[in-house]
Assembly symmetry: C2
Homo-oligomer: 181 residues x 2
């Protein structure tokens, strides 16, 4: 669950905040009790890729919490100063050290429970030399029947991989939008 009421102090002046509904608003926000600054909390985007080499998909084994040791598609929080596509490429480089040609947006998954939207692009690997960063234990290519389904780190990764193999089977890729409970 996303942290509600986690803003205890004002980012502008440091004074304590109080959660109440501002004028002309309809939900509680952290409002500074001294300077009146209103602090909004909103969902964040997680951006990543499905990197493909022929029949195989690249997964990364996580070297960090949460889900240490489990397998994921390369993905991470979108940063200021970049587009969704740029963030997806960056995360693929940072986590897998992989060089890719980015393709279409493939899944858009609302994860309301944690206040996130996960967006995965399909991507074509340009070669099979990987150089995983510090967040990754190892990066490895998997055929469909080799995917470690019971050792995937996140439900959005499972959903995206399921959509990928289903679309590949029917020979047509399209955008999948869904909500992860």
């Amino acid at each position: 669950m996303f942290d509600m009421r986690r803003i205890k102090h004002c980012r502008v002046c440091g004074a304590p905040t109080q959660y109440r509904v501002p004028d002309d608003d309809n939900r509680e926000r952290a409002i500074c009790t001294v300077c009146g600054e209103i602090h909004y909390e909103n969902p964040l985007n997680v951006v990543g890729t499905v990197p493909v080499w022929g029949e195989q998909v690249l997964l990364c084994r996580r070297n960090i919490e949460p889900r240490y040791g489990l397998w994921t598609l390369p993905a991470g929080f979108m940063e200021l100063g970049e587009t969704i596509a740029e963030g997806a490429v960056r995360e693929t480089v940072e986590e897998a050290g992989a060089r890719i040609e980015l393709q279409e947006l493939f899944t858009l998954l609302n994860v309301v429970r944690v206040g996130q939207v996960h967006l995965f692009h399909r991507a074509r690997l340009l070669d099979t030399r990987f150089d995983p960063g510090p967040e990754t234990i190892e990066a490895q290519l998997f055929h469909e029947q080799e995917i470690p389904w019971d050792q995937l780190a996140f439900r959005t990764v499972r959903e995206t991989l399921q959509c990928y193999f289903a679309d590949r089977k029917r020979g047509r890729f399209e955008l999948h939008v869904s909500d992860i409970g």
Copy 2:
């Protein structure tokens, strides 16, 4: 431009922050000088709709800054606790008091300069009784040739309307992804 370095104090303890690169990271974050809390700043999603009644599109004239008095599609910041689709419906109700049937995601527009991603769904108006909220001066239906192109509030609204009329002309709607400079 999004506000860089706008976090002066820690949200947990109120002490001053300092911008520096945390261990195992590669960009500057506001870090509390006392408790060490790291404060991340990330892009936000703006969600809205293209509400359509026959040949006409519904626009709202803004009763708030920025862009007071200019015309917009109903849209606003996605909130915690909702999906993109739910946020789009909520904003359409709040700003136009319109009842809609939400359709497909239509535009996904990166606005890097302000740290935002704008996502518009197409929507079918269920009737033509509008009840604009406090953020809207008036809500009005426009035929394509009546659109006030020189009085639109945002470039993402212009882009979305242009895509809408172009797709309608060719008889096929698809997702448009682009970057607004």
